[in-house]
Symmetry: C2
Subunit: 411 residues, 2 copies
């Protein structure tokens, strides 16, 4: 199936907005064995949009993103209707629906003409409900192809795509590709790849793809639905056996979320003691709703005085071993454990750069420690990359280290 995407908006081409919608839709389709053939991004210009349509006409599914707003530079409806020779009409039901959605609080703030524009519907179009905004999606069937116009704001397009458009795309598939996506935490890409390939050896017809995500390694297996009936469920069993609890459960959005659930299952609360990450680990651990069930708090001890006064790191240790040392990180963990009386924790101290490196401790040197009941580990890492990459990798490694500790001690 040939799926093409046309993204519309000056702001995408001028760099004022990063196009995250393409990645969102691409991933949702890939997880269902479907590929986007090509994407084109054009400005808010009628000729440019219609030029892009001309080149994409013939696709089985054509998705337009953006340009459905109420201003004069929102031209998607006009471009598509004009290209297909269809009329645009005002839809009274939609108009009322939008007025109701905006409700009391916006009553006096609706600009002139807002409802006139937002209630315009292309003839023959089916509307896709917008649960988070005023512009509905519009769906047209043209020469047996599906043309869908979706709004640009991520919070509007995401539920609309998943709930209303994706089922219609899946219906259109002539051949179904089944996929299995698993995420592995706390292991390196090379380890994950060789273990995974070994685990699924001999299972026929599987296509294997591996990808480094921000906080874990993702494996995507796919195969035509009609071939090798049990292949994916067998692969799933083998991967579960190989990786055990290092597989992220499907309901976990992030590795930090998984750590939170492991803590919650063990009835443990954690805290963080951060230097170079500056609060990034605590921010990741509290990113998921419900995080008060696994984290009580954290300290960012950026200055050495804070390491001493707040966590009880000894001045002598800082002078002899330096702030970035295993001795210091051990005492940061002691501080969480003894002064703050927390059952599990992580501590990091490192040189994120670009300054601060020495021949013995170059930029990217990071000491990471973690503890849980009857377990503690402090290790030195060396990360490549710029400041933000070092900070991100440090946060991931700290979270993964505590996960490892929890899994090792539960055996």
């Amino acid at each position: 199936m040939n799926i093409r995407i046309i993204c519309i908006g000056d702001e995408l081409l001028s760099g004022d907005t990063v196009n995250t919608n393409l990645a969102f839709i691409g991933e949702e389709l890939a997880n269902r064995g479907l590929n986007v053939s090509a994407e084109t991004c054009v400005p808010d210009d009628l000729d440019a949009i219609q030029g892009a349509i001309r080149q994409a006409d013939g696709a089985d599914v054509l998705i337009f993103i953006g340009g459905l707003g109420p201003t004069t530079d929102d031209l998607t409806r006009a471009a598509v209707a004009g290209y297909l020779g269809l009329q645009i009409r005002s839809d009274a039901t939609l108009r009322q629906h939008i007025a109701d959605y905006l409700g009391e609080r916006h009553k006096n703030h609706i600009p002139d003409g807002y409802l006139d524009i937002q209630s315009q519907v292309i003839d023959t179009a089916e509307l896709l409900p917008n649960d988070n905004g005023t512009a509905p999606g519009q769906l047209i069937r043209h020469n047996n192809a599906l043309w869908a116009m979706l709004p640009g704001p991520p919070r509007e397009i995401k539920p609309m795509f998943i709930n209303y458009l994706l089922p219609k795309i899946l219906e259109k598939r002539d051949s179904v590709v089944e996929t299995l996506t698993v995420r592995v935490c706390a292991l390196l890409e090379s380890q994950v790849e060789s273990k995974a390939r070994h685990a699924i050896e001999g299972i026929p017809g599987l296509h294997f793809a591996i990808c480094i995500k921000k906080d874990c390694i993702m494996i995507r297996l796919s195969k035509p639905a009609e071939s090798a009936p049990q292949a994916l469920s067998l692969a799933k069993q083998r991967l579960a056996k190989e990786f055990g609890h290092y597989l992220l459960p499907d309901e976990c959005l992030t590795t930090a979320h998984y750590l939170g659930l492991l803590l919650k299952n063990r009835h443990l609360m954690m805290a963080t003691a951060e230097s170079c990450t500056g609060g990034g680990i605590a921010a990741a651990m509290t990113d998921t709703a419900g995080s008060s069930e696994w984290i009580v708090g954290g300290v960012v001890t950026y200055a050495n005085e804070w390491k001493m006064n707040v966590l009880g790191v000894r001045e002598e240790t800082l002078q002899r071993h330096g702030a970035v040392s295993e001795a210091t990180v051990h005492q940061m963990l002691d501080g969480l454990q003894q002064r703050f009386d927390v059952q599990a924790g992580v501590a990091v101290s490192g040189i994120a750069g670009p300054g601060g490196g020495t021949p013995e401790k170059p930029v990217g040197t990071v000491v990471i420690g973690a503890y849980a009941p009857h377990w503690r580990c402090v290790k030195t890492f060396h990360f490549n990359g710029m400041r933000d990459t070092v900070r991100q990798r440090t946060a991931n490694a700290a979270i993964n280290l505590l996960i490892t500790g929890l899994l090792e001690t539960q055996k």
Copy 2:
């Protein structure tokens, strides 16, 4: 000038990578009065790449991003050479340069054929140095147009584009559009827009654009170089007068960085006390190198026990007013000021959602406080959006509140 971009890579269409390169190049060009006419994203497929070239052929500048790596699915060189009927040759100097770049540490890890592929150069191509990787850019002049092939990794493409390609694009301009970009912090978009439009009223020939960035409001003014000399410098003066110190200096990457510099100039150190942002404010304040000159540390007091034990918030206050209250945030500030002896600080407590809201304090209710010498302010805010949006807006508002305090007390 017609500038087009072709991005190449399966990972962009399957959502495994978000295309940040388009936004980066788009913004750099927009800041110099140049627009990207269109972008196309195609998979690692020779026919697909050449199809995209066919449609973009005729542009004055054609930029290819990605597909310059050493694996068999890196096809940009082959696609461009094939389209133009040019030969690919192995470049001995480049080969040696790459071997030197990889150096000792990679000597034994270079896969077979790596150097063979990475030293391939299209005939007539000029090389653009890669200061952060092995694949150089390649630049071809075709029918008076500039065709540039750049590598995909952001840390490689960014310096290559700025240092080596951008000057050649600027040389090609027939008409020069001058631009002025300013960023305003701590004010709402509507305030910034009306004040800015009023400030530049009567200056002839200016094109005005406004955009909400992650942590500030950006205004971009542009005009043809030959018209109205002095118009932009006059606009700059008027905007400086209107917004004063609420204009971010050019050297500040973020609003948090600007707050850091304001503190540094006043010889003040700050700390954070965070609840709903979970460390995000401290992380933002330490995002910039050199941040130890303005932040000593922070506490994430997620649980009420931590608010009490670490910051000294009174149990009675939490019971009577709740954790999300101005009384609680005042005591969080007291804690930073008195227990931690810090000269300036911010504290936040709020309901990020999706759970935890009540009729009196719905999701999005956030109390933000800040203090500096002889100044303190605690305010209640209501933010719309999902959990991550509420957390991001809270962090921005806290940083902006302390900026406001520092600016107000320096008058």
